[in-house]
Symmetry: C2
């Protein structure tokens, strides 16, 4: 089955907004095994939208639209789509009721144009919106299905996950299941090289790599007549991926992030951690604090951007800083050791490097980063050379520090 996406909104054509809805819907459709050949963006213009819809209706089985469902005159996605599908608009009493309740809760005055959002194409399935006033809509007519979704991601994402995903899955003759094998500590091309045979020969299940900052995600997707069979097709592929990537695999749950995987390890082993950051300046701790409930394992962190702060807060020796410099394995090691001592934590990860664009030398170029990790009396360091902008180098440093912390915990647990 083919699907195509049309995002409506002048803000997208002006570049005011990055189209994250397109990436979200595309990934969901890929998970459902739907083939997407086209995406379009068009402004709030009835004529141009109508022409696109007529073309899309001919070439795709399912047309998903996002945006243009608001209460103003500019918003005309629903009116245009209903016309193309030959449907009249009628008022939906439940939609009206929910719009009223939503606006009252927000303390907004209800104006006549709010009721425009309660109008739905006759005979359509209404997707009630628990996060806003615009209901979504599913229209079916002669083998074409049009799905209209509100533009704001905080409304679109839950509506898609809760209502559209199950609807599209039921349309499919086969059941699609997928798992996300997430890797850290290996680059994209190295990861792809290790599984070229699987990527090339893939039919069912398929394996698709997604490159993220400091991580590679492998989506394994299988089709079968029922969920049990589909999952049983995934098992051997996942086992093979685990065999090939070993400790680089940190989860097979699409919802689990690297920092959550680290937090689970800390919990499993009853450990506390602290951070001692120079060039990342708090971003590493910021990632750990992404995990709701990390407070059991992370209590405090140090940002020591100056040499004086490294001495004062972490007890790095003046001599080390003078002899080897702030960006050195020796400093990274002393930062980790001193941080753990200051915080009374079992572990401490440290990062020191040259994020640029200034400050690089021939010996210590921009992108040179040392990560240190103290763990129960021992201290380990790692040297990395990243490239890119200041912010890219800092993001990679953070991902790498989390990966290194995870490795040290795993090695310690394995008695290595």
């Amino acid at each position: 089955m083919t699907v195509e996406l049309i995002c409506v909104g002048t803000e997208l054509l002006l570049g005011n907004t990055v189209n994250t809805n397109a990436a979200f819907i595309s990934e969901q459709c890929a998970m459902l095994g739907l083939s997407m050949y086209y995406q379009s963006v068009v402004g709030d213009n009835a004529g141009r939208l109508e022409r696109l819809l007529c073309v899309a209706k001919e070439r795709s089985d399912v047309v998903i639209l996002s945006g243009g469902l608001g209460p103003t005159q500019d918003d005309l996605t629903k009116e245009t789509a209903a016309e193309v599908m030959g449907k009249k608009l009628v008022e939906d009493p439940r939609a009206k009721q929910e719009i009223q309740a939503c606006l009252e809760k927000l303390g907004r005055t209800i104006t006549e144009n709010n009721w425009k959002q309660a109008q739905v194409p006759e005979g359509s399935k209404v997707l009630y919106n628990s996060n806003g006033t615009a209901p979504g809509i599913i229209m079916e007519e002669k083998g074409t299905c049009m799905i209209l979704l509100p533009g704001p991601p905080n409304e679109l994402i839950p509506m898609f996950e809760e209502q559209v995903y199950p609807y599209l899955r039921a349309l499919q003759p086969e059941t699609i299941c997928s798992k996300m094998v997430k890797l850290c500590g290996i680059g994209e091309s190295a990861a792809e090289t290790k599984i070229l045979d699987l990527l090339d020969s893939q039919k069912n299940p398929t394996v698709a790599p997604y490159a993220k900052t400091g991580e590679v995600h492998l989506r394994v997707t299988a089709k079968a007549e029922d969920e049990k069979t589909a999952l049983s097709l995934i098992v051997p592929v996942e086992e093979e991926l685990n065999r090939r990537f070993g400790d680089c695999v940190y989860t097979d749950d699409p919802k689990v992030t690297l920092e959550e995987a680290v937090a689970m390890l800390l919990k499993e082993h009853g450990l506390t951690v602290t951070t001692a950051e120079s060039c990342t300046g708090g971003l590493l701790a910021g990632r750990l604090v992404n995990v709701s409930g990390i407070s059991e394992h992370f209590k405090e962190g140090y940002i020591t951007y100056s040499n004086e702060a490294k001495e004062k807060l972490l007890g790095v020796s003046h001599e080390t800083l003078e002899t080897y410099g702030a960006v050195s394995p020796q400093t990274a090691a002393e930062m980790a050791q001193g941080g753990a001592k200051a915080a009374g934590a079992d572990l401490c990860v440290s990062v020191t490097g040259i994020a640029g664009p200034e400050g690089g030398t021939k010996e210590k170029p921009v992108g040179l980063v040392y990560v240190g990790c103290y763990c129960k009396g021992k201290v380990f360091t790692e040297k990395k050379q990243f490239s890119g902008s200041r912010s890219k180098i800092r993001e990679y440093s953070v991902a790498n520090a989390l990966t290194f912390l995870r490795k040290v915990i795993l090695d310690e647990a394995a008695g290595k």
Copy 2:
């Protein structure tokens, strides 16, 4: 003049990649005063790309393509576009030379398919690539112009800024100039309400609002026969915006970020700052460290996620934490005061709040955040209620803390 954008890449249709190129190119085109009515995404498929190109060529004056210029068999943007424009491919000697130099620098083995990238449509303008091997291309034929750009943003962005932008500007009969008036400390709808008359009546210059996290950017764009006249049209509008928004305006330079504006203020007044963070867990310091050269003004920061750390590192009193709780104006104030003392800094910004999704109560709901700021013996606090996910609440808290810090410095300088 109308422009349309076609992004080529199966990774976009699978949702592996968010299409940030589209937002970048759209904003640049808006700055140039070009009208964009359509954007499309298509996979690496010659037939579908050809059909799109034929339609685009008819309806738009300029067609910009990104992606599909790589060395592999899959990459067929150049071949397809050349065919649609009726051009033969020929080898460009300089492109060949630069590809060789680039690959040698990277230490890569050169294979036969690398020379595919040195092929360019006959009579086209070649855009040499200083960040990769794929040259960009500009083709003109009977009133249509096609511009081909490499997909990776680190190659596309500098190529566009340095080569495509001046080319497109020269095509325009008029000169377009724009300024970006950036605001903090005011919400999107409040900002729009203040300038509804300017937004409605706008013709030349136009004013377009762009909502960012905790900020609103207003782009003022004018067209005229020359740059001087265009800039002179902008002046009274910018003055009017400054008059209406006052201290909320932090820059009119599109390249300057909020943290850079704060850093410039610190420099101007010879001040040092430190951070004391609870729920933001390092992200506030991380924003300050985005500024290369901040080390003169920011030397260290404290992440005090637990109550014990707030007492130990910042000297927040046990009684305050017991009586008012960690999320209270009293704690925010003591964090700011204690942080400045511990770091020996002139200023300290503190953040404490409930980022959720757990931990909210009726009295202190998720999203409640207190920001504190110590400045030369005085301490100020602010209460905010944000909504959204844990990460959104934390991002808004950081933007708000920077805004508050800026306000305190300005007020202090004005003797308020």
